[in-house]
């Protein structure tokens, strides 16, 4: 192994496909579907009114299959990804995406299944959702999960809509959702979308929310709190039970942003923390690929009293159960809409099924034997980085004393002393062959550098990364820092220009 993975190589340039075309070329075979030649030749105006017919077809590139394949293969080579580099993006849980899950999602009949196929014929597919729901309930201690939310933010929105509807039905007009200032941007955005007013609470010195501070915000206008746990500093909210008590006493709900659930997977249940609702980002904790920005799934779990509010449709299990009666029929799975107080529909069909499928496969792979090791190793790896980097970046760990959970965060204090800014550190790391950590978030840490190693990285990789940070801290010249990265397909991108004169398409 070289000293660092980022050495040198060849980057193949590639023009936009539209410039590579040649009239009449295409990369797809067109079947005749058994149609007569005379039908194939007929003009569209023999079928529909000519006034609707498009005169000039869309200007798509005119290219062959090999050209398309080479084009996109070259493009792909300009990406860093989990399979090529250490990708320690904080709050994003960039863990390994098992290959077997891709093979399962690519099974011919599953991937070609029409969502409105009669339920009687697709019982095994519906059973997947029910079985997966049972596993998530066991892992969280909650009563039921709804799978309609397509991503984390959609799960937040669904959860907040539930809270809203709960109070509407009670005839209470509570408008406030409390959000710690360290929360993900989606939290206040989802609150607004659900019709609430988000109110920020300052986090304490230890990085956590203070029960005493919270008390100051409590009133009958407070519908709930959105709390990320462990929070975006990677710190466990020590007062969580007390916070939940305060909220519950006020008749309010505790919504947990489950983006960081990897810290608890198989080790602790959120029900033991007094959580009422949580979304689980299956594309984070449950290993489904991020896909360069999506798709995901933000399955929403709730306590017993909120089950009837979950989105519809959902998979309902009818019959079966644990009966000694031999005559009892096998359970039947239905696509049901009978949730008395459902917040309604969020998606045209049931859920991001292919994502749920991968997550289910992941849990079946791990099984009860290994699942607790996920959070254990994730926490160990993060604390190792915290400890080692804490020495190199002295004075930069705002929470030096305690242990972190699945991620750790540093300020730019130490690197600034060496004349390197956070963004420069990020870009310099690229040339060493690492994806940068999350930077400048959370906002309340100066020049924040947020590192989440996950359980699928080795100590060897972590050591290599730590060594790179050390080299940057002690050896980098400012002149080099401002020019980095230099080994990438393009250098520092001019984002000012991009926004000043926006170009949205060819």
């Amino acid at each position: 192994m070289p000293k660092f993975p980022g050495i040198k190589g060849i980057f193949l340039d590639e023009d936009p496909l539209i410039e590579q075309g040649s009239k009449g070329l295409r990369g797809i075979g067109i079947p005749d579907c058994g149609l007569k030649k005379s039908d194939l030749k007929k003009d569209e105006s023999e079928y529909i009114d000519a006034k609707y017919i498009r005169k000039s077809p869309p200007e798509l590139p005119e290219v062959s299959e090999p050209t398309v394949v080479r084009h996109f293969t070259r493009l792909s080579s300009w990406n860093m990804c989990v399979d090529t580099v250490f990708y320690p993006l904080g709050s994003c849980t960039m863990k390994y995406n098992p290959k077997i899950n891709e093979k399962i999602a690519a099974l011919e009949n599953i991937k070609n299944l029409h969502p409105l196929t009669p339920a009687r014929l697709i019982q095994p597919a519906l059973k997947i959702i029910d079985d997966f729901n049972n596993i998530l309930c066991a892992l969280t201690g909650l009563a039921e999960f709804g799978f309609a939310p397509q991503a984390g933010a959609a799960g937040e929105f669904a959860g907040l809509k539930i809270i809203k509807k709960y109070f509407d039905l009670k005839g209470e007009n509570r408008k406030t959702i409390l959000v710690p200032d360290s929360s993900h941007g989606t939290n206040p955005a989802s609150s607004v979308l659900a019709g609430f007013v988000p109110v920020e609470i300052k986090t304490g010195k230890a990085g956590t929310l203070d029960a005493e501070e919270l008390e100051k915000f409590i009133s009958k206008d407070v519908a709930g709190i959105m709390i990320t746990n462990p929070n975006t500093f990677g710190v466990f909210e020590k007062d969580i039970k007390k916070i939940a008590e305060i909220m519950h006493k006020n008749g309010s709900f505790v919504y947990m942003d489950g983006a960081n659930f990897n810290a608890f997977l198989g080790s602790a249940r959120v029900s033991d923390m007094g959580i009422d609702l949580i979304q689980l980002n299956l594309h984070k904790t449950f290993s489904t690929p991020h896909g360069g920005g999506g798709p995901g799934s933000g399955a929403l779990g709730v306590v017993e009293s909120l089950r009837e509010f979950l989105p519809v449709p959902y998979v309902k299990k009818v019959g079966g159960g644990v009966s000694a009666d031999k005559n009892l029929k096998r359970p039947v799975y239905e696509l049901s809409e009978d949730k008395k107080n459902s917040i309604g529909r969020m998606t045209p069909f049931l859920c991001n099924f292919a994502v749920v499928l991968r997550a289910y496969a992941y849990l079946l792979s791990l099984g009860r034997e290994n699942i607790g090791s996920v959070s254990e190793i994730a926490v160990l790896n993060a604390n190792y980085v915290k400890k080692k980097l804490g020495k190199i970046l002295s004075g930069s760990d705002p929470f030096e004393e305690g242990l972190c959970m699945h991620e750790c965060v540093f300020s730019d204090k130490a690197i600034e002393e060496s004349g390197v800014s956070t963004i420069e550190l990020a870009k310099l790391l690229i040339d060493y062959g690492f994806h940068p950590p999350t930077v400048y978030f959370p906002k309340n840490i100066h020049g924040a550098i947020m590192i989440e190693p996950t359980e699928t990285e080795s100590v060897r990789t972590l050591d290599n990364f730590i060594k790179a940070v050390k080299e940057i801290k002690f050896k980098t010249k400012k002149s080099k820092a401002v020019k980095s990265p230099q080994k990438t397909k393009v250098g520092r991108v001019n984002e000012v220009l991009a926004n000043k004169q926006p170009i949205f398409k060819y």
């Binding site: 496909l17 295409r26 990369g27 797809i28 039908d39 194939l40 017919i53 498009r54 077809p57 798509l60 590139p61 398309v68 493009l75 300009w78 990804c81 989990v82 077997i100 029409h114 969502p115 196929t117 014929l121 597919a125 596993i135 066991a138 397509q150 991503a151 933010a153 809509k161 941007g185 939290n187 955005a189 989802s190 979308l193 466990f236 198989g266 080790s267 690929p289 360069g292 798709p295 998606t347 045209p348 069909f349 049931l350 859920c351 991001n352 292919a354 994502v355 099984g367 009860r368 034997e369 607790g372 242990l403 100590v459 990438t488 520092r492 991108v493 984002e495 220009l497 926004n499 926006p502």
Partner: protein, 477 residues
């Protein structure tokens, strides 16, 4: 602690980590962090299944796969918002590259040019197909995208009103031809704002949105109208006369405000044959793009498309890729206008969306490249013809009658004819159930007696024959 195959730290490595941290074991580690929160014990974990080895896991899912309708022998004629189009192997080959499917959102543009460039091409191709100025880098699905379009139109309509904005006096007019699931999602999203939802009825004969009803509701609908929503082709497969619909929308002076003209679609493949929404001066397009290179996947993940006129770009939700330069003047791509988004603007963002359908969008970009200019048009034309042949064949059997007679693309609605049906109380759902037993997914029931039927390039003439013959047996049995 087992050496499970996804964990690259050996037992020794883990022991080393504990030693360095000065902690004995997991109990102490989590005890120190969690305080009074208990560690999950064997009793709780017992509710979870035992681990499955890779081969056993694959067989488990193979078994599931073989107990649902088989692609190899099932003829799918169901649409209703998702369509059974052919997916070329080159897409699967390219998308299986880790460089596409395992990165995060491209927030570090220098190491994400591949995804960014591919999304820029996606935006370019979709803009061409829709005839719209600006396309974003995807939403979750057509329904969510449409709901966000309605919210965007509401924001635009309130731009010149005194704050705080109330939508209590507003009414969104939605055509009865919009997919009912989409209308439900709009209600979920817009419900909290106080806005009312009004329905514009369909012409009973043609199945097109009733222009007179629209005009009347624009005039006296009981409030200011931030947006009028139509679907092209509509839920029943009928091609809307967008030209005739657009005129009253954009000249509605009754409330001193011209509503946004929002066009949706669940089948943008139609725009290979018919005029696109941009041609009719649509302000926003929001619909489904799954037809372009994506599998049906039992309904998700899908591909939300969102496009708008340039002047509305600041109210658009979601990420947008823009073309720019790097320090050396080389072409480069990056996310632009991020100040609209939640990670910058938090509560004041245009939407809460973060994760979207990026990979599905890249699939669409690859698909449309493969189709090329001529292929896209020809496949669209093939869809049109197959659907018309199917409809003619079914009507000639005497078992069905048209629900509407308006022009259509690749989907249409028929009623089961009572007289031609010996078993004359068969409902549309029962018909579909019985046909499914014969490996034909015959359509989607839209009422007690009517169903939606679609045809794509994945259906052959022989499938159409099979449909007609089996329908005869099922309905005359």
């Amino acid at each position: 602690m087992n050496n499970f195959r996804y964990f690259p730290n050996s037992k020794r490595d883990i022991a080393k980590l504990y030693r360095i941290l000065g902690i004995k074991d997991k109990k102490e580690l989590f005890g120190k962090i969690l305080g009074g929160i208990p560690l999950m014990d064997g009793g709780i974990l017992k509710a979870l299944p035992e681990e499955l080895g890779e081969e056993a896991l694959y067989r488990f899912f193979l078994d599931i796969d073989s107990n649902i309708p088989a692609k190899s022998r099932t003829a799918v004629f169901a649409g209703g918002g998702i369509y059974n189009h052919f997916v070329p192997s080159a897409i699967d080959g390219l998308i299986s590259r880790s460089e596409f499917y395992t990165p995060y959102t491209p927030y570090q543009p220098e190491v994400s040019q591949g995804t960014l460039f591919a999304l820029f091409e996606f935006q370019s191709f979709i803009a061409e197909i829709l005839g719209m100025d600006v396309v974003n880098a995807s939403m979750y699905d057509g329904a969510e995208s449409l709901a966000e379009a309605v919210l965007a139109a509401m924001r635009l309509s309130s731009a010149n009103r005194d704050m705080p904005v109330s939508h209590k006096d507003d009414i969104i007019l939605i055509s009865g031809g919009v997919n009912p699931s989409y209308v439900s999602v709009i209600k979920t999203f817009a419900g909290g704002t106080g806005v009312k939802i009004g329905k514009v009825k369909l012409d009973g004969r043609t199945g097109r949105t009733d222009i007179e009803d629209l005009k009347q509701k624009l005039a006296t609908g009981g409030g200011r109208v931030p947006a009028v929503v139509v679907q092209q082709p509509n839920y029943f497969g009928v091609i809307e006369d967008l030209e005739a619909l657009e005129r009253p929308v954009h000249s509605n002076s009754n409330s001193g405000y011209n509503p946004g003209f929002i066009v949706s679609s669940t089948e943008p493949y139609s725009f290979g044959v018919i005029n696109p929404p941009g041609y009719y001066n649509a302000d926003i397009f929001a619909g489904e793009g799954n037809s372009f290179g994506n599998y049906m996947n039992f309904g998700g993940p899908l591909l939300g498309l969102f496009a708008a006129k340039k002047e509305y770009v600041r109210q658009m939700p979601g990420r947008i890729v823009g073309k720019t330069k790097d320090g050396k003047g080389r072409d480069a791509y990056a996310f632009i206008l991020s100040t609209r988004e939640q990670h910058i603007r938090r509560g004041a963002a245009t939407s809460n969306i973060c994760t979207n359908s990026s990979l599905n969008a890249v699939r669409a970009a690859i698909y449309l490249s493969l189709c090329s200019k001529s292929g896209f048009k020809e496949i669209a034309s093939l869809n049109l013809k197959l659907a018309h042949i199917l409809r003619d064949r079914l009507l000639s059997s005497g078992l069905f009658e048209p629900l509407y007679d308006g022009d259509f693309f690749n989907e249409f609605s028929l009623k089961l004819k009572i007289n031609g049906n010996k078993n004359n109380n068969t409902t549309a759902s029962e018909f579909i159930e019985k046909m499914a037993e014969r490996d034909i997914i015959a359509g989607v029931a839209v009422s007690e007696s009517a169903l939606l039927i679609s045809a794509t390039e994945n259906n052959r003439l022989s499938d159409i024959e099979k449909y007609a013959e089996n329908a005869k047996e099922v309905l005359n049995a």
